[in-house]
Symmetry: none
Subunit: 191 residues, 4 copies
DNA sequence: CATGAATGAGAGTTCATTCAT
DNA sequence: CATGAATGAACTCTCATTCAT
């Protein structure tokens, strides 16, 4: 019977990621040492290395939870024409990806400098570049460019910042999206 | 006498800050070692310690170029009533502070996680908190709150991001400000 | 019955030795990790431990292919009087032992320092000492001592070095032996 | 005054080399940890890194005491025609270089496998190759080739092996050289 | 003003080895 | 026969910092 088999076939890999995520969020990637992760988990540093090749690899695993979905979104976007509708759709979907993955995005956001050297930083940079290009495509006017960027900021940073604000998360998300769409809207629709 | 006015007295301190700024921007605060700074400057590590008490102290000196003015702005803001006009004024002035100090803001932005432990991080956090509170004061409605934040994001991140975009800086700055004010405006003015 | 005679029963042990031999030769004993051996073989590290008690044990098994025969040779030599004929015989037989086991000798040769701590190193040292003593016995004159050593070097290192030189192996071996015997000869025979 | 100034301006670099040399000889390069060197010297590991960039760098400094002179010898040899006289001269001079530097040569000899990965290993290999080529040039006959090699072995390994044998060092060296020259002689002179 | 020398603490990483399954 | 998971000890190396000169 045994509904909770005790650690049957390593859930350790997941536990490492969870602990690391926690520490990366609170202390930062660089300042979090493998010793800390291991200790907090009650295993040895060497155990971490059984499950992950390097420290960066742990972060990669964590950030892939978010990287994959976002890449798909970008791929989809690049296959579409740069119409206002597509951009609106992009913002909506991006907002959805953010939901529930805020801590991961926060790590990527707040440790940018540290990631630069790592190849995970390269991937991140590429993602940001592609997403920006996507959002900005279609209207080269300065005002439009600013609007496109601003709408993206609103969705992205809104999620990160409003996270520690009281209120129903979904409600906050939709409010944020509304504002972003409005900023965008005046650009694409002329309103 | 003295063709070089009163620049007597170590311009080394300034050169250290410039070099450090450069390296902090390109390699990040943590990843930049004092050895690197010293080498790039052609002095010894010990020399850095003659001019600055710690590594953090160098960063502090750099960030104070921006911290002081911003603090003054916040102080001013807190002495005003939370009217729409004041908020608009805040955005305008904040935008001006950003101008020319983008690299410093970028360092603070991209090294947030590293700064958390440092007391300079505390000050930064406080500044952000106060500025946010200032911007958000006066209207607790969710929609308004989002708008206030978004306007601030637009000015702040717009400056950082649009920096590597072609175009006249001042023109870009004003365009950004326009969008920010608009986002704000619909909230505060009802339009 | 059984087309494959009686090779039943794990040829894995042999495969481990072969793989290890390869890696020890190319990367050195210390620099070769059990992980590498296991990976190159497509098994787990733990599997190696099923077949061998320690890493040193693998090397021991490898070097025993050569150690036993050489020990026999030395035993034989020590039972003989230290005559010129015996020494000539020793060189000839040693040369034969070397034939085909060059890689093993090379490992022992090039990893001497690493082996020192291991008890296999002690055995090697003992072998070398006994063989040298055997070759040097009978004539304490400095010139003779040098000659005896030189003849042994010639056979031993000649085999290792000439291995990567073109030419029929057996022919090279005999040529080497000739020179060694000549060096020896002038000492023992006066020629 | 003050004939023995106490450690005036770092004789530490030299002391590190001496201690390392000792340990490399007795325990081997790989098996000697920087902790051991530091402890035996009464300094911290970090002090070693003040004076040398890496562990390999310490070995390099040690081996350069011998590498430079030998390189010069080889350079000289390569500028000469491959005559018997030149070869004799090469052996004589090589023998002289060996004198007094036996421990260094022993390290290089006994740690060959470990050095392979290091770029100091490459240099060593190159040196050996060039020296061999030099000695073997001029007569492609198998017998001659073997003789050339053998003469070199005699000088090289003779120095290493006879080091722990009683007797006046210089006398031993000359005796060794005599045998080497004789081996060579029969090849080059036809005798 | 600045350097040369050194330190203590800790980082990430790798290794041979063990053992329940 | 063999594996997956884990460990403890060690490793090389880097860093911010100190201080006598």
């Amino acid at each position: 019977m045994g509904s909770t088999p005790h650690t049957r076939r390593s859930d350790t890999r997941e536990r490492i990621q969870r602990t690391a995520l926690d520490l990366f969020v609170t202390r930062g990637y660089e300042k979090t040492s493998l010793r800390e992760i291991a200790e907090q988990l009650g295993v040895t540093k060497a155990a971490l290395y059984y499950h992950f090749k390097t420290k960066e690899d742990i972060l990669r695993a964590i950030s892939d939870h978010v990287g994959g979905p976002v890449d798909e979104l970008i791929d989809w976007g690049e296959a579409q024409p740069p119409t206002p509708e597509v951009k609106r759709e992009l913002l909506c979907r991006y907002s959805e990806k953010l939901r529930g993955a805020v801590p991961v995005f926060r790590i990527l956001q707040e440790n940018q400098a540290s990631l630069r050297t790592l190849d995970i930083g390269g991937r991140l940079r590429e993602r940001v570049t592609r997403l920006s290009r996507l959002m900005r495509a279609g209207d080269e006017a300065l005002d439009a460019q600013v609007r496109f960027s601003s709408a993206l900021f609103t969705v992205h940073f809104g999620a990160l910042v409003l996270d520690d604000v009281v209120g129903d998360p979904e409600e906050k998300r939709l409010a944020t999206l509304d504002v972003a769409l409005e900023v965008l809207g005046t650009a694409v629709a002329g309103r």
